[in-house]
């Protein structure tokens, strides 16, 4: 193969100006199997759906997000610290210990106290490995598998802690219909008006069905150049299931479940 490459390069040089343009290398993103649920920016049906779904009150600025973060039973130190850091990243969030309470009973209490979202971080062998994100007044519930969690002190940077300002939100690459709803779920965690003075940005970047979360502080050094400095925890999520109502494992109506046999067959097919 090296020989073929060399030959090709020589040919190109030999031809000089008449050489054919360079071929675009094939990447997985290029070769991605076309997903029929890809959202077209001008799609009216989607726009209408989004205007009437559970996040409409948030996007119409009627509700202010208030978030409850909790863990599974008996969280270990790492998970507890991760929860604390997460609560500094997300404004207006509160961490409560689980203490063996059943989720089905927590949820009505949360709704009574005006919480809009519930985050449950599941822990296994002293590391957090799962995340359940539930939009509370009867909203969708998303269950993620969480991996590569890095706490703030493990990230190589020299910045300070995140301040209390409301960060901006970047949602990248959420193309399909499913991705759209998940993206809106993430967006509804943060208050709608970011404070640009804080210069903080929370990013949810979707790449090949993995959602990478990063939290940065940015500076515009000049017009064309921006410097970013990572502060805050980082983790990656992979969607396992999306449920229509609030968290109910037995009787819930699942909108999407990751079925390994069907969905993991092709390397170029992604769902988010």
């Amino acid at each position: 193969r090296m020989a073929a490459k060399k030959k090709r390069r020589k040919e190109r040089e030999a031809l000089g100006d008449e050489a054919p343009p360079k071929a675009i290398p094939k990447t997985i993103e290029n070769q991605r199997v076309y997903d029929e649920t890809t959202v077209d920016p001008n799609d009216e049906e989607v726009a209408f759906d989004e205007a009437t779904d559970e996040f409409a009150p948030y996007f119409n600025r009627q509700t202010v997000p208030k978030i409850l973060i909790t863990t599974s039973d008996r969280p270990r130190g790492r998970t507890v610290r991760f929860c604390e850091q997460l609560s500094t990243v997300i404004p207006n969030s509160h961490v409560y210990y689980r203490r063996g309470l059943a989720l089905k009973r927590i949820i009505p209490q949360c709704i009574a106290r005006d919480f809009t979202d519930l985050i449950v971080i599941n822990e296994d062998r002293k590391i957090p490995n799962g995340l359940v994100l539930s939009h509370l007044p009867d909203g969708p519930t998303a269950h993620f598998r969480m991996s590569s969690v890095r706490l703030r002190k493990e990230i190589k940077r020299k910045g300070k802690e995140p301040t209390e300002h409301v960060p901006e939100v970047i949602l990248n690459n959420f193309t399909t219909r499913l991705g759209h709803s998940v993206g809106r779920m993430f967006a509804s965690l943060f208050p709608h008006d970011p404070q640009f003075i804080g210069r903080q940005v929370a990013t949810f970047h979707n790449q090949r069905d993995y959602i990478f979360f990063r939290f940065h502080r940015y500076i515009f050094k000049s017009e064309k150049k921006v410097g970013i400095q990572e502060l805050g925890p980082r983790f990656t999520l992979k969607l396992r299931s999306l449920q229509k109502g609030t968290f109910d494992s037995k009787f819930g109506e699942y909108e999407w479940i990751h079925k390994r046999r069907e969905m993991d067959t092709s390397r170029r097919k992604f769902h988010l």
Partner: protein
């Protein structure tokens, strides 16, 4: 006489048989019980019998202080002479199946019939009543067995209660991990991370937002406004022709040349596309261009700097003097 004797014998035989098969009453005197126990060892003979316990020592679960008995009919769980179901021909245990407790009894009369050896009695669900039933069934049995049976029954009912309570609470479901899949997911995640080029993506997004003026007035980059104004000039040959705009046009004419040259050096051609499509920015551009105009005039250095600037792609240095303190405070 003759018919009476067999009748009596028959009656005795019948009664004896009945006595044997009926589960309840066992009117055997305690002496008979002790003799049966001894009988179990004596029938075997002296030296033939293996030493207690009657199984291989290697099969016997031991700890430093105790030996355990794995026999399922064992009453206490320990391996003792008095609590071994194999060594004792009269023995009783409590076992539970599917939440119901049974009393199992073994007597010497049935030692020859292994299939019928263990006799089973269902105990009532009521705790006190069940204790009475145990007493009833094990009347005249040795104290040790009776006592241990009741203790075992108590323990079993306690753990059944706990099971019922726990099933009402939340139960932790264990999901097995599949190693191949875990490895695959990890690898794919790493590759996705590399493909994502997060830093670049974030920077790009932020710059785009800056271009689209989501930040409003916070960042004053004059060149930014300049570019926009220029693009606007290029895109629309005829503007709305305000008087102010015409003034700016002259200035822009001077500077247009070198700025355009610099523009070609810059690689971000995306700006042009974006700026052409967005229409909201026009008004803001006008304002910013106006702001720019007095500032540059006051400095008076721009015409001198013209040729020098052609070499350098970034024209920042001059203009940032005013705004630098602002950015510095933000950085702090």
């Amino acid at each position: 006489m003759a018919p009476a004797v067999p009748a009596v014998a028959e009656a005795a035989a019948i009664s004896y048989c009945q006595r044997q098969s009926r589960p309840g009453l066992r009117p055997d005197p305690p002496s008979a019980a002790s003799s049966t126990r001894q009988a179990s060892t004596s029938t075997w003979g002296g030296g033939v019998l293996p030493p207690f316990p009657f199984i291989l020592a290697s099969l016997l679960p031991r700890t430093k202080t105790q030996n355990f008995c794995r026999n399922e009919y064992n009453l206490t769980g320990l391996c003792n002479r008095s609590s071994c179901p194999l060594a004792n021909s009269q023995y009783a245990t409590i076992r539970e199946e599917k939440g119901r407790c049974y009393l199992y009894m073994k007597t010497i009369e049935r030692a020859a019939f292994p299939r019928r050896l263990w006799e089973r009695v269902l105990l009532s669900k009521n705790y006190e009543k069940a204790l009475e039933e145990i007493d009833e069934n094990l009347i005249y049995w040795p104290r040790f067995i009776r006592h241990k049976c009741k203790q075992r029954f108590t323990k079993i009912t306690q753990y059944l209660i706990r099971i019922r309570k726990l099933t009402l609470k939340r139960q932790r479901k264990l999901v097995p991990l599949r190693r191949k899949i875990e490895r695959r997911e990890k690898r794919r995640e790493e590759k996705a991370l590399i493909a994502a080029q997060l830093d670049n993506a974030i920077e790009k997004e932020l710059l785009e937002r800056l271009k689209q003026d989501t930040y409003g007035d916070i960042y004053n980059f004059p060149i930014h406004a300049f570019d926009k104004a220029l693009q606007q000039q290029d895109a629309e040959s005829e503007s709305e022709s305000d008087a102010e705009k015409e003034e700016d046009d002259d200035e822009d004419m001077d500077k247009r040349e070198f700025v355009e040259a610099d523009d070609s050096d810059l690689s971000d051609f995306e700006d042009m596309d974006k700026l052409e499509t967005s229409s909201e920015e026009e008004q803001e551009e006008e304002e910013e261009v106006e702001k720019k105009a007095p500032r540059s005039k006051s400095k008076g250095k721009t015409p001198l700097k013209g040729p020098a600037r052609r070499k350098r792609p970034y024209i920042e240095i001059e203009y940032e003097e005013e705004t630098e303190p602002a950015t510095k405070t933000k950085a702090a």
